[in-house]
């Protein structure tokens, strides 16, 4: 069972998508008040993992459990997970015609009984033109605009636990700093999981632990600054080696038990 001290606890999670095993026996824990990073090469399963945490239906949980703040959320509908306090900034959100960004932002703010005009303040905080509040969700948004719109929605939601999927991809240098600052301010004292491919955002956001995903498995977990600098130096080969060693160790253990 998830401990009350952990905001997120994933136990032995295996997930298949369209009949293919994408995540294998994942164990991952984020204690309350910590910000973790999820690293990994393209196609390693980072996005699938956070989609499973969110409950998107294309991900089929074959085994294992996900605990959020002590509650088993493994089979819970997406919106109920949101009600419990999980928020997500998507990497590639769909465009929805006729549904205004402002409508979503205000629905969060009204739910929290916040003052009128707060949507405009939040938009300014992520350097987002307020006209965008009247625009159709993600329709014709540039890559950088999508990132800011996603962060804006998470800021409006004020979740206990924020999942940010590649908040830095496609963002120019100036806005990276703005977004990084907004995320950092927001995450102060909260918990979160940041998915990043290149790690740029980590220059602006303070994080505690990094987990590296390779081929659907957690290859290593450790202090984020150390893990990141090692990857920047040696690439993901370093983690692949780690994973191989882990597997060899597992095999040995099995043999010993026999």
């Amino acid at each position: 069972m998830g401990r009350a001290l952990d905001i997120l606890k994933i136990e032995d999670l295996s997930v298949e998508i369209a009949g293919k095993m994408i995540l294998k026996n994942i164990d991952l824990t984020v204690p309350k008040g910590e910000i973790h990073v999820l690293l990994g090469p393209n196609g390693s399963g980072k996005t699938s993992l956070i989609q499973t945490i969110m409950g998107l239906c294309s991900c089929n949980v074959v085994s294992g459990k996900i605990w959020f703040d002590g509650v088993d959320i493994t089979g819970m509908p997406i919106n109920e997970r949101v009600d419990l306090g999980i928020g997500i900034a998507f990497q590639n959100p769909p465009a929805i015609r006729g549904v205004k960004l402002g409508h979503v932002v205000r629905s969060f703010l009204e739910g929290k009984g916040q003052a009128v005009g707060r949507d405009i303040k939040l938009a300014r905080a992520v350097n987002f033109p307020i006209e965008f509040l009247d625009r159709d969700l993600n329709l014709g948004f540039s890559g950088g605009e999508i990132k800011r719109s996603e962060i804006l929605q998470v800021l409006a939601q004020r979740p206990k636990f924020a999942i940010l999927d590649e908040p830095d991809s496609g963002v120019d240098v100036e806005n990276l700093e703005v977004i990084g600052k907004a995320i950092n301010n927001f995450l102060e004292g909260r918990s979160g999981l940041i998915v990043t491919h290149l790690g740029h955002i980590l220059n602006h956001v303070k994080t505690d632990v990094a987990h590296v995903l390779i081929s659907g498995r957690v290859a290593c977990s450790g202090k984020s600054t150390k893990v990141l600098s090692q990857i920047l130096k040696e690439g993901y080969r370093w983690c692949e080696r780690c994973l191989r060693e882990k597997e060899v160790e597992k095999c040995r253990e099995k043999r010993r038990k026999r």
């Binding site: 997406i78 919106n79 959100p93 015609r97 549904v99 969060f108 739910g111």
Partner: protein, 407 residues
Amino acid sequence: MQGKKEKALNAKEKPAALGPDLDINSFTRDVKPWRYGPIHSLSSDITQQSLKVGIRPDEKGRAGTYFQIDHSTVFRATQKMFEGKAEVMSTEEAFEKYDWMDDYWWKVVDVDADKYTALAEMEWDKGYFIRALEGQNITLPLQACLFISKDNLNQNVHNIIIAEPNSEMQIITGCTIHPNVQRGLHVGISEFFVKEGAKLTFTMIHNWAQNFDVRPRTGAMIEDGATFANNYVCLKPVKSLQMYPVAYCKGVNSRVRFNSILYGAENSNLDVGSKVILQAAGSRGEVTTRAIASDNSQIYARGLLIGEHEDSKAHLECRGLLLSNSSSIHAIPELIAKVKGAELSHEAAVGKIAEDQIQYLMARGFSESEAVALIVRGFMDVSIFGLPSQLQEEIKKMVDITTARVL
């Protein structure tokens, strides 16, 4: 007129090219006349129904009003500040007043197109005449209501709408029935003349019943530098509705826009299209359709663009959303370029609501049914009509009420 009567007689058995064929004799023509008087003196079951199609019984915010029940004109007026600028009357009165009415009668719709046009000529039940005088800007919308109060009645109206040179006007038309009416046939002939430099925005809202048949026949002539916007909204069930209005962009730099929002409910059969014929230099056309099919409804969304001039351009866009497995949408876009240089294009997309859109909104805290409702409401985005904000707000409310009820 004799020639037209003869033509009509010859076409009285001629089925329409599209839509289910109807037995005209199964409807009644027998109805008592209504007395003329102010709209607010009408019973509330009538005024409440008319409100649902955008007709304000208090006439507030409207430049003029025409109200017809069954075969009788019950009210028509122009607000004082628009007297001498706009005219509203029945087409019957217009024939008495003007000797030039024949110049506009059956000019952009053929009297012998099919048995419904023939019926409208042989059994004509008035209709409205709305005209903006030369150079006048009618700053408030004019409203016209065509109402049927008796079950199984056949109503055949013939409307003439003229925007004189350099005038500007907005018209909102609501066609509806008494809540007790189940069955009936409404035939509406509408002929539009948008003259040099004029701007006409026409918005028609239909509200029928599950066993009601509707056959509008519409044509528009658009002259030099003139703009015609034709908006159509149908949100309630209907047995069969078939129409294929046509706009002739005859003038240099003439422009036409057809926008339709269709909601097919219950067993509705909607066959709705728009034709644009580009005949002059700089003529432009745009057809936008949003169709939603639910329950057992069948929707045909047609569009035809014909480029007859080398400096002409038009685009057709149709989006369809299926909400049930027993409904269907058939999008039929057609482009005919008759000269090189005519630029015609279309895009059509039909399908169910994308799962990733629902999940995205659920990740924003909405329940699944709230997410679907938001997407459907957003899909029927009335801002495509390009209406002034107050009118847009009124129509948006109607759409919102429909989506709130059906979802």
